[in-house]
Symmetry: C2
Subunit: 306 residues, 2 copies
């Protein structure tokens, strides 16, 4: 990790945020927005997803987005890939890092990927090996870590065993997702301590959701346990795929505000992130759930209090 920062904020808005947005957005606008994000000090930006456009039409311009953004030293540009075909397209477009995914919930994994977790390992191993051969680092998302809409609670051993398996397969960073935003801080501590027996916390990131308003408290709990990488989405873009209308991804700026307030250096410029949030809110034309954005807008309208 960059020695000048204490935690690494991983920006997933252009992928995880936009994939759930209904408003079609021009590629040129996406690229302009990502270029703004690059200037905030963020060091990881997940640009898009190379899943089949049939599944996520909003990201069907994946290649053009990857090719369009300006590159910057020390900023890693990632993209999600579901399989070898996606990997080929991602490599051809020229990403720095490959993100793969599976679910901690057998039922959700089958519904989402149409295969068992064991079958998914086979797919992922091929993708990981090819990506490694191409010199790429790998990020692995595990969803439903803290609870699943189909299975309810997920056994803590299931989370650590999947995490360990991914690390063995060569994944560099494993992002544990609170996909339905149901985690409470004690649970985050318990899961992370359990996982840390098999996978060093330096290889773990937290992907909190704010559906229950607990994204920052769970972030804080994970930080206290020793996690140093956190996923956010500018503006809180994305929502909750399992509860349309409710909050999903935590706003990057809310996370940066908390950490900087704690004296924990993120390397990210809060005001610039808020500007990016304001910009994308004007594009998607709905009020985003970001607290610091709405506070900034309220102050602008009032022309006053800081």
């Amino acid at each position: 990790m960059n020695k000048e920062i204490d935690v690494r904020i991983c920006e997933v808005g252009p992928r995880d945020g936009l994939q759930n947005e209904q408003t079609p957005i021009d590629t040129a606008k996406k690229v302009a927005w990502i270029n703004q994000l690059v200037d905030t000090g963020l060091t990881y930006i997940e640009l898009t997803s190379f899943v089949h456009p049939k599944w996520i039409p909003a990201l069907s311009d994946a290649r053009e987005v990857v090719r369009g953004v300006k590159r910057k030293q020390n900023v890693t540009f990632g993209a999600l890939v579901p399989n070898e075909r996606g990997l080929e397209r991602a490599l051809e477009a020229g990403v720095d890092e490959i993100a793969i995914f599976l679910s901690a919930s057998e039922t959700h994994n089958r519904k989402n990927l149409n295969q068992s977790i064991d079958q998914t390992y086979t797919t992922l191993l091929k993708v990981i090996n090819e990506a490694k051969n191409a010199g790429k680092s790998i990020r692995g998302y595990i969803s439903m870590v803290f609870g699943c809409p189909f299975e309810g609670q997920i056994h803590i051993n299931q989370v650590s065993s999947i995490s360990y398996r991914l690390m063995e397969m060569g994944v560099n960073e494993i992002s544990l997702g609170d996909t339905i935003g149901i985690a409470t801080p004690n649970q985050v501590e318990d899961v992370l301590r359990h996982v840390s027996k098999q996978v060093p916390l330096t290889n773990i990131a937290l992907h909190p959701h704010d559906t229950s308003g607990t994204a920052l408290v769970n972030t804080f709990a994970a930080y206290k346990v020793g996690v140093r990488a956190f996923d956010g989405s500018v503006g809180g873009l994305g929502g909750c795929p399992y509860a349309p209308g409710a909050a999903g991804n935590v706003a990057t700026e809310d996370m940066v505000f908390m950490f900087e307030g704690m004296g924990v250096k993120t390397g990210v410029q809060l005001e610039k992130v808020i500007q990016c949030a304001q910009w994308i809110q004007s594009i998607v034309k709905r009020n985003l759930p970001s607290h610091r954005l709405q506070m900034a807008l309220a102050h602008q309208n009032k022309g006053g209090v800081k």
Copy 2:
């Protein structure tokens, strides 16, 4: 404290929530709503404010509200009073507990109360003595504890000295308010540890605001330090008086969700509180910032996922 609960949730919605709402609400509806709140298991409900109706027309029916609600054993009904005249009206209406207030910020105190903090002590002492003589317990709110829109940072010694002074004057519970929602968890820990040198934490409550999305993380931090009383407002009713449109009071149901998820007993029934939030949202006719309410509504609309 009731031995069957681990933390006490203090419901301030009918006072601190409604005082900022623009929609006029019939007294009968307020009373019906408070009666619902009484059935959730909450043990403190702040019913209204006996400030002059000129200042808060929304609460000009204070007397009728206090007289209208059904009483229940083990539920304390409080009301805010600014001065002796307010106290008289509150006592005459029949409240159980008196809430008084001042600001940790000299500038804000002068703007809000038109007197210095020292002058306010004189006013409050009279109110406290009279209330004590009438056999009432006293709750004291200190606002702007973690930052002020006029003064910026508030010195930690200022907070502990005001807290100590209030305790000396006979205040039973002192609620420290993050009025502009600017606190971060480390600051909450620092302030509380400092205050606890002069005032036992058993006499301290936290009044978090969610303007920056940090209400629950600050609640968690305060709990870890040893605070066991927390103020919430059903639905997150109230907003931020210093940033209209932004979030203010934390939703009681979000707080209950977090604590119960942590195995910390609140004695409050989450589903019933969410019903109260849904009810008042239908009255004020705007989407309230409560996460658990919006999640519940999203699931209702979808007819599915729990």
